[in-house]
């Protein structure tokens, strides 16, 4: 009865344990792992995934799914690169964020008003956005710099997004933290966050309780696109270049991290703390493996195995299994669980 809260605490606790184990392992295996410098690098390295994960969490709690974020990052970056000359770099960056929001809005419209399945919608958008990124850039990486030497201040400001520091923290990391805290506040204290949980938990009931389910959902998709726009600005500013190939398969990394953190694909449950832990687990794992010069293939395999382990263990833990009977070889297995086909 009272176990709902305990269970989510247990889930977070088990994530912390996994994270700790990974950290202990790699700190033993590599002397560099726990150095200030490496930790700084790691934080900087997760900004794109981190920013996208915050809003993907919101979206998925509301029962949505967005596979197009990686492509949208690339598209928004290319928009900056393509428009910097004519519009000036800062308006171009602002416009890119708006384009991100627009892509998200289009996703949201197709999902909520037209009623196409989110997986299909964002799969289609993945293809469209990536294609447009290549079309607008002609397939080339566009350097972002003051080619005419007339916008020194503007470019200086722009590069601050990627390279500057705020309160001694790298700007992208700072922005990620701000967005994370914003997300926490939204989920905890605002009606918007409450709406996400309600809609993800039971969209029909929420609709009948008088919530404008469509509008809330649409906003969630828009925020997801918007966050892709923000991530694109930070990335472009950090690399001094806009690449139509940017953020390859980012959507899968983000979803892996978010699901690792306990977000259910069915919606209605999960927390940002869990997501943060999921992102950290994934990135420490990959960072540690990189430090040990592990091949990319092994990293891919490890990523898959960790995902399966985390979700699988969680599944086993939350089930009330009669272990003694199971050990005796009886066919008595789970109980209390319904819905066999559709996971959680």
């Amino acid at each position: 009865m009272k176990s709902a809260r305990n269970r989510s605490l247990a889930e977070i606790a088990s994530l912390v344990v996994i994270l700790t184990l990974i950290i202990i392992f790699f700190s033993q295996a590599s002397p560099i792992f726990l150095t200030q410098r490496n930790l700084d690098n790691m934080l900087l390295d997760i900004t794109t995934v981190g920013i996208l994960a915050v809003f993907t969490t919101l979206l998925m709690i509301g029962g949505g799914l967005d596979l197009s974020v990686g492509s949208t990052v690339a598209l928004c970056g290319v928009v900056i690169g393509a428009l910097q000359g004519t519009w000036g770099i800062l308006p171009a960056a602002a416009f890119a964020v708006a384009i991100g929001a627009l892509v998200g809005l289009a996703n949201g419209f197709l999902v909520t008003y037209v009623g196409i399945n989110p997986l299909i919608t964002t799969l289609g958008m993945l293809s469209i956005a990536r294609g447009l990124a290549f079309v607008f850039s002609d397939g080339l990486t566009i350097p972002v710099f003051d080619s005419e030497g007339t916008q020194f201040d503007a470019y200086n400001t722009f590069t601050q997004f990627g390279e500057g520091q705020v309160f001694g923290i790298a700007t992208p990391v700072f922005i990620m933290f701000v967005l994370f805290i914003l997300g926490l506040l939204i989920l905890q204290f605002t009606s918007y966050g409450r709406a996400m949980y309600a809609i993800g938990g039971n969209a029909q009931a929420s609709q009948l309780a008088g919530l404008s389910v469509r509008r809330y959902r649409m906003i969630a998709y828009m925020l997801s696109g918007l966050s892709a726009g923000i991530a694109a600005v930070l990335l472009t500013s950090r690399l001094y270049a806009a690449d139509p190939r940017a953020a390859p398969a980012m959507e899968l990394t983000v979803i892996t991290a978010v699901v690792l953190g306990g977000i259910s694909l069915a919606g209605g449950k999960g927390t940002l703390i869990g997501t943060a832990l999921g992102v950290l687990i994934l990135t420490t794992l990959l960072n540690g493996m990189k430090l040990l010069s592990t091949s990319t293939d092994a990293q891919n395999i490890a990523q898959g195995v960790v995902l399966l382990l985390a979700v699988g263990l969680d599944q086993l833990r939350t089930r009330d299994i009669n272990w003694t009977a199971w050990l005796r070889g009886s066919r008595l297995m789970p109980d209390g669980t319904k819905a066999i086909a559709k996971g959680d």
């Binding site: 197709l110 037209v114 009623g115 196409i116 399945n117 997986l119 299909i120 919608t121 799969l123 289609g124 958008m125 993945l126 293809s127 469209i128 990536r130 294609g131 447009l132 290549f134 079309v135 397939g139 899968l252 979803i255 892996t256 699901v259 259910s264 694909l265 069915a266 091949s295 293939d297 092994a298 990293q299 891919n300 395999i301 990523q303 898959g304 195995v305 995902l307 399966l308 979700v311 699988g312 599944q315 086993l316 089930r319 789970p334 669980t337 319904k338 819905a339 066999i340 086909a341 559709k342 996971g343 959680d344």
Partner: protein, 336 residues
Amino acid sequence: MQNTATPAQSKGVIPKIGRWLRGERLTTLNLFVSFIIICIIFASQSEFFLTLENFANIGRTLGVVSIVSIGMTLVLITGGVDISVGSVAALSGVVASILWLNFGVPLFLATLLGLLACTVVGFLNGYMIAIVKINPLITTLASFSIVRGLAFVLSNGQTNQLNDEAFKFLGRGEIGGVPVSLILLIVLYIVFFVVMHFTHFGRNLYAIGGSADASRLAGIAVRRHLLIVYTLSAFLAGLGGIIIASQLASSAPRAATGLEFTVIAAVVLGGTSLSGGKGSLIGTLVGVFILRVLDNGLVQTRVSSFYQDVISGAVLLLAVGFDQIRLKLTSTFGGK
């Protein structure tokens, strides 16, 4: 019981229109019409589109996606999804070529063992989904990266030649002028059509997708069915991989990248619902045709590959979106 009129008995023109609009036949019919329209557009743009040679070409290149789509249709009908098919397809070729080249296993046997490896992967997928009860998207997302990684590790990233006439026959050969892979896919579609419509196994899959609970309570072994479906899906993906390898006379760990997305797009285009319980193999076949013809036509009309991505994505959204809007309209025209 003085029961109410069921929709099938209600009278009047408007409900009739509503029923007709809601009908499944129309989804397939719509698809057919869109298919014809796409063909007409391309035929008007490229004089070579409607040539015998091009038909033969489409028949030859249809095999992989259509065969893997069978498995995906089954999986989607049970309410699941299988993201790992592309990786699994790569695995079958890699395993077969390694066994043949490095261990001297006869190629025929090596091919079978390659398929076996895929079947095992499918079984593990099914086990995780049906027994451990992990969400299918998550499970197959994980095996998607694990299996692709395995293919690279096993092959050491190398492309291997599979120069063997008998082996090439599967992907390139012809019987009476008809490509072998086309014959194979027709046979498979007929077999699975019969399975889905005239056997208990097939009907049970619809029932499971419609309501796993109802099926379980009706005494259907839901877990076993799911296990079989994911195993089948991986087996068919492996078969697709073997056809790729045979067509190219080589195997590469990079093969079939992104196949899962093409396949899911084709199946969903064909009217199979991602929420399970609904779909048909005929629709899937039409979906596969549409995507193949679209690609073929875009290449032939020499559209830049950058635009090809945009157009494929847009066609998917348009087709599925149109179907959704049609379903919505039905509620205005005297639906239930």
